[in-house]
Amino acid sequence: MAAPSARELARAVNVRERSAGELAEEALARVAERDGAVGAFLWSSPENVREHARRVDARVAAGESLPLAGVPLAVKDNMCLSGTPTTCASKILAGWVAPYTATAVQRLLDAGAVPLGKTNLDEFAMGSSCENSALGVTRNPWDLGRVPGGSSGGSAAAVASGQTLVGLGSDTGGSIREPAAFCGVVGFKPSYGRVSRYGLIAFASSLDQIGPFATNVADAALLYELMAGKDPRDSTSVDRPVESALAELPEDLRGVRVGIVREFDLAKLEPDVRAVYERAYRDLEHLGAELVEVALPSAEHGVATYYLIAPAECSSNLARFDGMRYGLRVEAADVGATYEATRAAGFGDEVKRRILIGTHALSSGYYDAYYVRAQKARTLIAADFAKAFERCDLIANPAASSPAFAFNAKADPVSMYLMDYYTIPMSLAGLPSLSVPCGYVQPAEAAGPLPLGLELTAPLFAERGLLAAAHAYERGTQRAREHAPPPLPAAVPGGRA
């Protein structure tokens, strides 16, 4: 029986009702029982988990009170944890052992979290389904024939399948919020700059941000508040106070103005999906929020803007993978041929596509037409949000246009890119944004009910109000509790790549 929250687990460890060691054994047993079917983890070592748990128990025995005492934590495998493999789900980093720990991870370890393992992702966090992982298949716990979303699909699926209560993801264009929606959990991308990226292997540096997955908003808020804050090792991390949402969680949404985006027309969605979001908007109103229509006229250009800016930055960031100092090396006739052969063998198709489009967009003769134009479009998108937030405190919209889709359903890259239609504009503007479960649909071809997520977005650095409102919505509707994922088989035949 899973505990209700990470905060409750930590409390029990701090008062010595439970021990980190016991929680670790229970978590390891859940991974052994459930991950054969789900495939959330790329790496999990019982000895490593027990060692971390022992350290936490020693600290508690010495009198420390830790906000995450003994709480098992899933870590997306693009974040470094010293002494353990960090692969980015790529053949080019397979077997690489990180010699240092990411700041965000370290802050949670300092708070008593026990890293349960490293979770699957689309290679280098490039994708919306986890299907671009070179190292494993992750299945959606609600329907094993469907994707968990991506790129942080492993952490989302680990939480959704009850293997752990909390996990870490990274979000560049929706990589926390879309898998959270697909898996029926809370996923939160803080403002750009809130959480240090030191030790997060870079994809698109002007967009990447680390954030939590949890079964409830308050746990997500706790992880965020522990991770956030200036880090001298990441010059883009901002030095401003982190106001706690947990200090005063509201029970309703009275006094909150929620913007409904005119351009995000629910009529474009399938009728059953549309009905869930119409109900979500009504729920916001019933809880006391005032709904106001706002316009984001440039948001429809978000996907096009993103698929120039993010690949441009990726082509630059991934230049470091050249087979010289770490990772794969494929020897060839000379050093240039070695670079080319190493990168050809080490990167998967989606990473190659993004490196190519990014290199093209930055190349002489195309730079102004593609990259600079996209940066200007980004200005327009951010300005739209600034104007909208003159009239509202939050913006509410679907986190994705559909529930989780079946494997191989989005073979055409542009159709996959459009899965991030509702999450990319917020990323381009750097805004704090989360997905909270808001209901279920049951398409005829699905194995059972499939969750949907409501995306809530706030102005830059307004995390406290965002988390407070999301908590009030969660508390007032309890939508996640309408269904539970089905029991899992011991394994899926041929399920692991």
């Binding site: 090396r329 190519l356 489009i357 940066q375 200007k376």
Partner: protein
């Protein structure tokens, strides 16, 4: 060249990626479709708009110049594809004199 075109073989050379002929063809079609999609940006009125590189107002961020321990050398070198003593071993970069 129309904006929907991309010379994949040339770009792959710039990006240090060896590609098979079949990949050049496949990626060319897929990236051509993406470039068609991003053409929509041409309709945006951006002539007088400043470019945004990132969204947080920040200038050069300085820190105190304090010496700190670097990463443990052996742990770093343990990850090298090839090492020789305390060094990374890499392919020859400068040609021998004729």
């Amino acid at each position: 060249m129309a904006s929907g075109d991309i010379d994949v073989a040339y770009v792959a050379k710039l990006a240090r990626l060896a590609l098979e002929p079949a990949e050049i063809e496949r990626f060319g079609a897929q990236l051509g479709a993406l470039l068609e999609y991003v053409k929509a940006l041409e309709a945006l009125p951006v002539a007088d708009v400043a470019a945004t590189a990132q969204v947080i107002p920040s200038a050069n961020v300085m820190r105190d110049d304090v010496a700190e321990p670097s990463l443990p050398r052996d742990a770093v070198l343990a990850a090298a594809p090839q090492r020789e003593g305390a060094y990374f071993r890499v392919p020859r970069i400068i040609a021998e004199e004729a």
